[in-house]
């Protein structure tokens, strides 16, 4: 995979592109642009059109951005194909739902608790499965995912089984309640942006390079002194933690959850987001989530052929852009340049490494 970009020092000084504006300026501009979209343009569109439909789609998209970005961390960056991600999303949702309805705990507690409980399960699952590689690990996560779904479905005394859990309170922080759709969106967006930021700092660093190294060749990485097993477990735990957070957000924004929200097809949907966006590319995972949630809604008007059109679009996107919409190499270069996370050895040179 094209991860490394040529070192600027090898280029003659005359060929190096001139600095358009300083690294700090670019970084500031990009951050501002992304925040403006999430907290300016989208809320403005929701208020401007008065469309609750748009608000609902925006909330769903933000939740799936967390799911897709977290799965990308383990499957894209660390190369462990997990097809049971929806189960951890479910654990988070049930944790938040049960803690708030049975124990009356506030959102400020249920949100991190949902993440931690999902991460704990992720840790327990990771311990025995981390010795498995490639497709064997995938099948193990498939099995675990199904197991968790079946437990949610059948442990009727605890989860109320297929009856689901009703009356989950909306997001509330220190007396402020997200009872309108706009405020709900804003609360979810703040958390989603925070999650993506944490994943960004983890991925776009030498720690992220270590994960990429074990994806490319774990024996080689091991011989270089990287603690492969520990890193694999860590990446899985981080991913399941964020899946749990996404689950808590689903529970608190939809008021009702049932095991049907966390079926196998949901795991596949999240995986498709990551692959369509670009395996190993965090911006790609975000774009993939946006694409896979918005596209089926945008195509509603064509009626019966909607899902065929969605399938065909996915097929074409993989055929024409096999590395995803924002391929990993491009994405890393983009982050190094536009968020000034790389070291530029000479002014305007191609940045390398991580700050």
């Amino acid at each position: 995979m094209d991860v490394n970009v040529p070192d600027a020092r090898l280029m003659p000084a005359t060929l190096a592109p001139p600095a358009a504006f300083s690294g700090r300026g670019r970084r500031f501009a990009w951050t501002l642009l992304l925040l403006a979209v999430a907290f300016g343009a989208v809320p403005a569109a929701i208020v401007g059109t008065g469309s609750s439909y748009l608000a609902q789609i925006a909330i769903t998209t933000m939740i799936f951005v967390i799911l897709s970005a977290s799965l990308n961390h383990v499957t894209g960056t660390a190369g462990l194909l997990s097809i049971g991600h929806a189960a951890f999303y479910g654990i988070g949702a049930y944790a938040a739902a049960l803690l708030s309805t049975k124990l009356g705990l506030p959102f400020i507690v249920t949100l991190p608790a949902a993440g931690l409980i999902a991460a704990l399960f992720g840790f327990l699952v990771a311990l025995p499965t981390m010795r498995l590689v490639s497709i064997y690990f995938a099948v193990a996560t498939l099995g675990i995912g199904e197991m968790i779904y079946v437990i949610l479905l059948n442990w009727v005394d605890f989860t109320r089984g297929p009856m689901g859990i009703r009356g989950i309170p909306p997001i509330e922080l220190f007396g402020w309640q997200a009872d309108t759709l706009l405020s709900r969106y804003l609360a979810v967006a703040v958390i989603a942006v925070a999650c993506v930021w944490v994943l960004h700092r983890l991925t776009h660093s030498y720690y992220g390079n270590a994960l990429r190294a074990l994806r490319e060749d774990d024996q080689c990485a091991d011989s270089m002194g990287i603690n492969v097993e520990r890193l694999k477990i860590e990446s899985f735990v981080v991913a399941t933690f964020f899946a749990g957070i996404a689950g808590a957000l689903l529970a608190h924004t939809s008021a009702y959850i049932a095991p049907d929200n966390f079926r196998f097809m949901e795991s596949i949907l999240i995986l498709a987001m990551v692959v369509v966006g670009g395996l190993g590319s965090l911006p790609g995972a975000v774009v993939g989530a946006l694409f896979m949630i918005v596209l089926p809604e945008a195509l509603r008007d064509i009626g019966d052929y909607r899902m065929i059109a969605v399938g065909a679009t996915m097929f074409l996107s993989i055929l024409l852009l096999p590395k995803g919409m924002l391929a990993e190499g491009t994405a890393l270069g983009f982050v190094r340049r536009s968020f000034s996370r790389g070291w530029a050895t000479i002014a305007g040179g191609t940045p390398v490494g991580w700050k």
Partner: protein, 373 residues
């Protein structure tokens, strides 16, 4: 001068169009159902039946000064999509009421939103006990298992059978079917020998059958859908088990006999709808459905046909200036709606439907009405 004339003509035309619109207001009902995905066959039946009912209604002239249309949206039987649809419907000010969704989980995911935003919702099939408890805005046209279970229990006891084993699908509906039947059966002095659950999608019942047959119950009670019902009956025949089968109304479909063939002979069930019913309303519906869609309508199509009928009658009662509030009140006042699934009334307090059920058994390769126990 000429400018003014043109302006006048344009204004006149605009006024004329608004006048026409006022005389013929368009009232829209939203219908959300699984039109793609695993459960699309049900959504397809709902849409077929709804179209017949809608055309009948608009031709009947029950509602002067307005035309009713139905907008269908595909929920894929996915709670996530259902929530999006709920908001799409809410944003459309022409939509005064919603029918759907198919499964209880999906109906309730959307129902939470309709309850908060005050939109009347009528599901043709959601049987979750909590569905109508969401808010006064939820209605359903299906009798729940809390009604059907004791009804079947009475029937089995009246036939002189005292012990029963229950096989049920592990979902919200299956559990309510189990509870309804078991409590009704025990209340009448019956004895439950075993209750066995299977997960949705399972088609192998051999181990359950062997286990249940060992205790020799008088009947086996099936709480499942026709695909599983047919598989169950075939495996029962292959294993040579002769215990008679009773089942929930969900088994009632021509497909059950098509898939199960001889093995489903003698299966008893009570249902709200039977195409053999000589009632002219039923016969018109069955003939029209068969002529258009080349298949005999089952219970699900009939449920949707009546749900649409109840909704449209409520619209007619509320008049051409119907709002979401007035439609809810008109729905709540439904009494004795003469549908193909029996006369339907909504309870004034719980909004649960009450219907008369027809007792049936499979005989000579078709469903026949049973008279007596």
């Amino acid at each position: 001068m000429r400018k003014n004339a043109i302006l006048g003509a344009v204004l006149g035309a605009m006024l004329a169009t608004t006048a026409v619109q006022a005389a013929d207001r368009e009232i829209v009902i939203g219908y959300q159902a699984p039109l793609s995905g695993d459960r699309s066959q049900y959504g397809e039946m709902f849409r077929n039946a709804a179209q017949i009912k809608l055309e009948e209604f608009n031709a009947s002239g029950k509602l002067a000064g307005a035309k009713v249309a139905i907008t269908f949206e595909d929920s894929k039987d996915d709670p996530k999509e259902a929530r999006n649809i709920a908001h799409k419907f809410l944003d459309n000010s022409k939509i005064v009421g919603v029918i759907g969704d198919f499964s209880s989980t999906v109906s309730m995911a959307a129902g939470e939103i309709y309850a908060a935003e005050k939109m009347p919702q009528l599901s043709q099939t959601a049987s979750h006990p909590d569905f109508t408890k969401l808010s006064p805005w939820q209605f359903r046209n299906i009798t729940t298992q809390a009604f059907e279970g004791p009804y079947n229990a009475d029937w089995i006891i009246a036939a002189g059978k005292k012990t029963a084993a229950v096989i049920y699908i592990q979902n919200d509906w299956g559990i309510s079917a189990l509870d309804g039947f078991v409590s009704g059966f025990k209340a009448k002095g019956g004895k439950i020998t075993a209750t066995e659950a299977f997960n949705p999608g399972n088609r192998d019942f051999r181990s359950i059958l062997t286990k249940v047959a060992r205790q020799k119950p008088d009947v086996i009670y099936l709480a499942m859908f026709y695909e599983e019902g047919a598989a169950f009956a075939q495996q029962r025949e292959q294993l040579g088990i002769k215990i008679p089968l009773y089942g929930t109304s969900s088994l009632y479909s021509p497909k059950l006999i098509e898939l199960g063939r001889e093995s489903v002979e003698g299966l008893h069930l009570a249902t709200t709808f039977t195409p053999d019913n000589p009632d002219p309303a039923v016969q018109t519906f069955v003939k029209e459905y068969a002529a258009r869609f080349k298949s005999e309508p089952g219970m699900f199509a009939a449920q949707a046909y009546d749900a649409v009928g109840i909704m449209l009658d409520a619209v007619a009662k509320a008049g051409p200036s119907v709002t979401r509030e007035s439609l809810r009140d008109a729905l709540a006042a439904t009494t004795g709606y003469p549908g193909v699934t029996g006369a339907t009334s909504f309870d004034p307090v719980t909004r649960e439907p009450a219907k008369a059920l027809a007792k049936m058994m499979v005989k000579d390769g078709r469903f026949q009405v049973v008279t007596g126990p």
